[in-house]
Symmetry: C2
């Protein structure tokens, strides 16, 4: 039997033209390798990245390289992000996908990435480990993203641009509408994309000139002193950011003092978001945030379990006009669908490496557009900024057609390891111009940080 | 910092007496090994187990053995169930927990399994792979269940009896109330358990005499001919079952014919449940079931995504009085909580190997009791019947105190591999009397089915 669900009409129609129109010379090229590396950074030695639920993360990546025997020698690079322990499990989940990928025709895969991603997501045996959640789904996302990186490189486009140049019909064909149709039909998705078609060229030009708004979490890690918080908050404003974010949730007294400190440092006009990293039950979330309300928090992020749609709806109702944001741990489009149906969030925080890759994130962007909710991606970690900026920029050009109330998270960690690191100027992400998804790391960084044998880790044993 | 969330009051109080009161001689005993085996059965060669989303499962187990240096030589056995591919990923997830377990004092672990389970669930790095879902959470469940098996063996009790003899306070201490308190507080849980205390002795005696009601899925796999369906359905009724189940969702015309065939075979008084294994979106679920309604289906199981709480609520409202059931793929107690809050299910289908083990299933049983919804466990696969019967029997003795409208699924696959296989008589599970959780397999079965090196698989290469 087919591993692709036959009831899903979204597996057709085939896009009328390939997103990777290159290389008739490589018509017989095959995928020859799916390599995965366990790469970890000893970030727990600093308190950068500390929050109420992640006291000591070692930012890590199950790093994926898709190789082919095409003459162009191009590779697809992507990663699944983890916070240290368990990165080996994540790598094993990626490796389990190799039999589904090796030997496939490069043109077939890249010519219909919608079918490729659905085939991985719906493997009838592997899906038992989810379905569509946890390590196995993140592995699918990494492999799908590696294929998109390869497609973008072969098309000589940064990913955002490859996506933004696809037709509405081609984009709709990327989406798995299974379990979405009560909230978003293929026809509605097409309508959203067609409505945004007219201004694509102007918005692309604007993006290339001005970039996309960012906010910064750099000042607000839990482990920082008030002095460091004040200094970094002022530096953020001076650097052009109009929004910063503070981690909260460990101690209410500390949080009141820290938010007051930050508010005094930045003045009334800068937005300050706060982030509890899932720390609370519903009632404590409401009570805690009411205590912080005098200092005008802009949004409360991850107030409770990422699975608790109904809990978020209650919190949002109780706390308005403080906004409610979540998404970095939301497992898939079905949970995002319900957060929107239940009016449970004001801000959708997509993550480049949590769900089933670019294809599922296109679905989530379309859902957010349907419900009129802004998307402000989660980023940070390692490589998340590099990857997710492409999705917001695509959203601006071809889906929501606006940057109003939209910002991409920025954290200034670990960018030096990337071949094409993000470029921030005056509080904005500059649009990437190099081909691909942006996740490719320097060979030296990969070798140094391979766990546990690389020199960075060998020196610590 | 502690890996156990400090805001959770449920980590205290410590139970007043240990659930494993044995062995002062072993006071210094330690956990010395956490072994994991990749064991697979080539069930896809038959069409037993075929359904609309699992056309060709190879029932498999990431099989866990917890060993100690105690003089009693007892081991804890449990398993995470998968359907073939990915069982290696599941085994890697179990192995990732070894550093959290090796060297721990046996008495400390078994004396407070609530804290033990919360420590595994909330590891601040491993939880990134969920949180509390997918392969990593199932691995936690398997290790927690292996510890319960060891506790029950050391207490010389079948697990259901060990649990049913714990005080309400001890049972409440097993539960992680994080994210539950808007639906169930520790005090409410205590009240539910205290209300059921008076009749424990009589219900235990009744269980030992009469067993617990079962239903059978044996007749209804999608791959069976109508003749085989008719024969097996009649055999099920003759064997004392009052409920059978049919898989549906591949073809409406076939399903109408099969359900009519089954109804004709068993008559009007036998309940026939149907199971779509997540196949539908919301509207098709309603339409398909309306076409089956003339044949009086008792419940529709997994009509759509296990994550779609709001979708289940709509389907239930539209289809009443046909009941809606789900749970075998519900990732954790937070999703079960919402299914109950949203009045989205009539039947809660716990699974012994999906969530974080016995502790989280106690939480789910308490939630179901709070909302007055019957629990009818999912079973089948390999070892799921052997394990989950203990949870229903505990529920009967000490939580819900009733078997009304409650049945445990029974499938007659692979029981011969278990040291203490389930015993079915007159359509009922007989209460287990051997110590432990029931998941222990014969050494020969493990060796034969080890993947890919065991003789069963070596012969197929």
């Amino acid at each position: 039997m087919s591993s692709s669900p036959p009831s899903s009409p979204s597996s057709s129609p085939t896009p009328s033209s390939s997103p990777a129109p290159s290389a008739s010379a490589s018509a017989s090229a095959r995928i020859t390798a799916l390599d995965v590396l366990d790469v970890r950074f000893p970030t727990s030695e600093e308190l950068d990245g500390s929050d109420a639920m992640n006291p000591e993360p070692d930012y890590s990546a199950a790093y994926v390289v898709l190789r082919t025997d095409a003459a162009d020698g191009q590779e697809g690079h992507a990663l699944a992000f983890t916070t240290g322990r368990g990165n080996d499990v994540q790598a094993a989940a990626v490796a389990a996908l190799a039999p589904h990928v090796l030997g496939l025709s490069v043109d077939t895969v890249l010519g219909d990435l919608g079918t490729f991603s659905r085939t991985l997501v719906h493997d009838p045996q592997l899906r038992w480990l989810g379905p569509e959640k946890g390590a196995m789904h993140m592995a699918v996302g990494a492999v799908v993203n590696a294929a998109w990186d390869l497609a973008a490189k072969r098309a000589d486009r940064p990913l955002w641009r490859l996506l933004a140049e696809m037709t509405p019909e081609e984009l709709v064909a990327q989406v798995d509408f299974r379990w979405l149709r009560d909230a978003l039909t293929p026809d509605e998705a097409l309508e959203i994309l067609r409505r945004a078609e007219p201004g694509r060229r102007q918005r692309t030009a604007r993006l290339l000139e001005h970039g996309y708004p960012a906010y910064t979490t750099t000042p607000g890690w839990l482990g920082y002193s008030d002095e460091k918080l004040t200094r970094l908050a002022r530096e953020a404003v001076a650097a052009g950011f109009t929004q910063i974010k503070l981690k909260v949730g460990a101690s209410l007294a500390d949080d009141v003092r820290r938010l007051r400190t930050a508010r005094e440092a930045v003045g009334p006009d800068i937005r300050i978001a706060v982030d509890a990293n899932q720390r609370w039950d519903v009632a404590p979330a409401v009570a805690w945030m009411r205590a912080l309300a005098p200092y005008d928090p802009y949004w409360i992020e991850e107030p409770t379990s990422p699975d608790d749609i109904l809990g978020h709806a209650v919190i949002r109702k109780e706390l308005a006009p403080i906004k409610v944001a979540t998404g970095e741990h939301v497992a898939n489009r079905v949970v995002f669908k319900q957060l929107l149906q239940a009016a449970a969030v004001d801000v959708v925080q997509i993550d480049a490496a949590r769900v089933g890759g670019v294809n599922e994130n296109i679905a989530i962007l379309l859902l957010a557009a349907k419900f009129g909710v802004p998307v402000c991606p989660h980023a940070g970690g390692v490589g998340l900024c590099e990857m997710v900026q492409h999705l917001s920029m695509f959203d601006y050009v071809a889906v929501s057609a606006t940057t109003e109330d939209r910002v991409i998270e920025y954290v200034d960690h670990l960018h030096e390891h990337f071949v094409d690191p993000v470029r921030i100027h005056d509080g904005r992400y500059l649009a990437p111009v190099s081909p691909g998804l942006g996740a490719q790391m320097h060979a030296r960084s990969l070798a140094d940080h391979t766990y546990p044998t690389g020199p960075v880790w060998a020196a610590r044993r």
